[in-house]
Amino acid sequence: MLKKLLKQNIKTKGLQIKPGLKAASLDIAQISDINSLVYPLEDAKLNTYIPTVSIGDKVKKGQVIAEAENAHGLKILAALDGVIETIDEVKAPLPQKITPALIIKPDNKKYWFDDVFFNIDVKLDEYPKEMIFEKIVQANIQGLGGGLFLSAKKILGSNIEHIVLNAVECEPILNCDEAVLYNYLAEVLAGGIFLKNAAKAKTITIVLKENKKDLINHISHFVKNNEQFNGINLATVPDLYPSGAEKEILKHVFNTKLTSAQHATDHGFLMQNVMTCVSIFRAVTCDLPQLERVFSVFGKNIESPTNLVAPIGVTVEDILAFLKIDSNKVDSIRIGGLMMGEDIVKGTSRKHSALLKSSNGIILNTYEDKEVSECINCGECVKACPVDLVPNKMFKAAQADDFNSSYLKNLSECMNCNLCNYVCPSNIDLVGMFKYAKQQKAMIQEEQKRAEYINNLTQKKIERTKFEKQEKERIKQERKLARQKRLEEKQKKEQETNETTA
């Protein structure tokens, strides 16, 4: 009792956001017709990819078609058999920018879903942990919560004790995680157990939102009735945005605070999105690569919002066609959640805007052009900030390019949750400025590091040339001396020979 009370004392800061849009139904529909698959060669995390195939190549389902340039082990896999149509020619719209893309023309329009379901007779503990790890690497499994971290890397983290399955979809309206839990609960839990075995962890905890009572009952019932899943814990977080962020969950549920430089794995936690667990389950039991994801489609004036499962790379045009939504009536497309997602650049072709691995939602018709006015220092953003920053002052410091300001000292704590933008009465894009400031700060640091490095090289060269000169002179003098010696010896010899002859 006392523990519970103490736990409640840790305040989770945040807001309840109710935008008044219709939420999608919890059934998951499967997309059928696919005209083309588009893979942007850059992702939301600013990684760039280099294609490993060339135009006209035939690719098979699950084949690697591009690898990350910065060598994080990230790959892009083809989701269908087909032919590479173009590379680099077409620009695919991503949030905020347009990037070159790789387009696959599938041989067969129909997409075959490998729906693998959990079989009670399978003993999960019998899978050896080396095999699980290998298969996770092979299947190129990335966190589908949005972070796109490689699951295999997370497992390698030292001393992992707790597996946390994150089903807190704190973005308003979005409910694809909930849908996954209703439809694939056994698979999620099995994936969790695989993770636990692979990382040699002790506990598994599913974290949910407080207000989803039905789902909580459903899960606890299921866990009780299945022997294999006994011992899986349930935890809840308040129905606030952004309580689903990794740090917020650890703070609220596990009473662990992370600094900006730390990851959950540094504290012995391995957090995975529930959808990733399904991918892991499929990869381990049936060798299936991670090709699909579940996402919500909703928006203003959309009568039947749906949760869809589709291969990554499917175009927005195909999605709209499948849902029988008139493409002409759609003004804006937002990829991601209502709060943290971003609009794709206006006026770009919908044929080439693709479903990304990190996009948990496609939101239509919600763009509003708002008049921006001067910051009146009202302090709403200061009250709203979940990590206790001072957004209004930070904005002013960044505006003046004063990156050494004390307000920007903790900039890296900002997790782009957009709450300050949400409450701002002047409609200022504070987070956009913080993204700029973060990049600038990093660039300045890099510049300084490089300057130091280059300076070091230059000093070395100066020393080297000096040394070379000295050496040259020394050798010259040595040679001179040697020549003189030789001359003297010659003379001596001549004298000697003269003397002897004489």
Partner: protein, 309 residues
């Protein structure tokens, strides 16, 4: 790119809310001062708007009268000033408030000091003989007479007497039972409470300024402390607490610094009144604290201090 979602409040609506909450107080003040009140209000507002428009055009600053900020400044000046003065004084007050208090810093939301208080202090220092005198509340002066009073200096003295607070300063313990100021203050208080209910202003400001005033009275003037409720009722503290120190532009944005800021304003204003020549020093205290609110924010900004186990 802006997020699509945002709350449905915007800056203009907040400002509009402030004006709405002030309407009862304005109407009552116009009522008790009759034509003189109406003239001073119109002069202040007209001067403020014209100054803003003209100066921003000359200095090429983007300005929008629709943000109501200069209107609010004029209204606050009207509530803070007496209504027995010459038109010239009102024009100067408004001109200085908008010109020196706001436009020179670059326009709306860039000022350091509260513009209304800049204007008030200017006339207080320039024309103290008018500021410390008070008119007999008399709304029976007719239109022509009011006009004559408003545009000439000659018969103001015959109409004025000292304010209750000045009187108190000279003749301690004697409170004029002038309930009109009290009514005005109560109307202002109601407006302020409306703003708190609407979440336009924070309750921290009135709470801590009152605390500051009470502490200062306790240390400097115990007798007045005993009658502090009357002091609040007759003094300018209520107007300052709800409308002047809550001005978001010139106040700090962290809760802790807001507490210190408003407490210090309450304390310093009593200090000035006790040690200085002016009967009340709220405006001076506000300007003083305005100048250090950036420092306050910096002092209390510690950011996130995540402790690691």
């Amino acid at each position: 790119m802006k997020p699509l979602l945002s709350l449905k409040n915007d800056t203009h609506k907040i400002m509009f809310e402030v004006i709405i909450s002030l309407i009862p107080a304005i109407l009552y003040k116009v009522y008790i001062f009759g034509w003189l009140g109406a003239f001073s209000l119109i002069t202040l507002i007209a001067t403020a708007l014209i100054t803003e428009k003209a100066l921003s055009k000359i200095l090429q600053i983007k300005s929008d009268l629709g943000d109501y900020s200069s209107l609010i400044t004029a209204i606050l000046l009207f509530l803070a000033l007496n209504c027995n003065m010459h038109a010239f004084i009102y024009i100067m007050a408004s001109l200085v408030a908008i010109g020196l208090g706001k436009i020179v810093y670059g326009g709306f939301a860039k000022n350091i000091f509260n513009p209304a208080m800049v204007g008030w202090c200017f006339v207080m220092i320039s024309f103290p003989q008018y500021m410390t005198k008070h008119i007999d509340y008399n709304n029976s002066i007719n239109f022509i007479d009011s006009l004559r009073v408003f545009f000439s200096f000659y018969n103001i003295d015959s109409l004025t007497q000292a304010t209750p607070l000045t009187q108190y300063k000279h003749d301690q313990g004697l409170f004029d039972s002038n309930c009109m100021i009290a009514t005005l203050n109560i109307l202002t208080l109601i407006g302020g409470l409306y703003l708190i209910a609407k979440r336009v202003i924070s309750y921290i400001f009135p709470l801590f300024i009152s605390l500051g005033v009470i502490v200062a009275l306790f240390t400097f003037d115990y007798e007045l402390f005993a009658a502090s409720s009357l002091f609040f009722l007759y003094g300018p503290i209520i107007l300052a607490a709800f409308y002047i120190i809550t001005d978001p532009v010139s106040s700090p944005s962290l809760v802790k610094s807001q507490m210190v800021y408003s407490f210090m304003i309450g304390f310093v204003s009593i200090l000035i009144a006790k040690l200085g020549v002016f009967p009340i020093g709220v405006a001076f205290a506000v300007l003083l604290m305005n100048s250090i609110n950036f420092i306050l924010d910096k002092v209390f900004n510690k950011g996130v201090n995540y402790e690691t186990k």
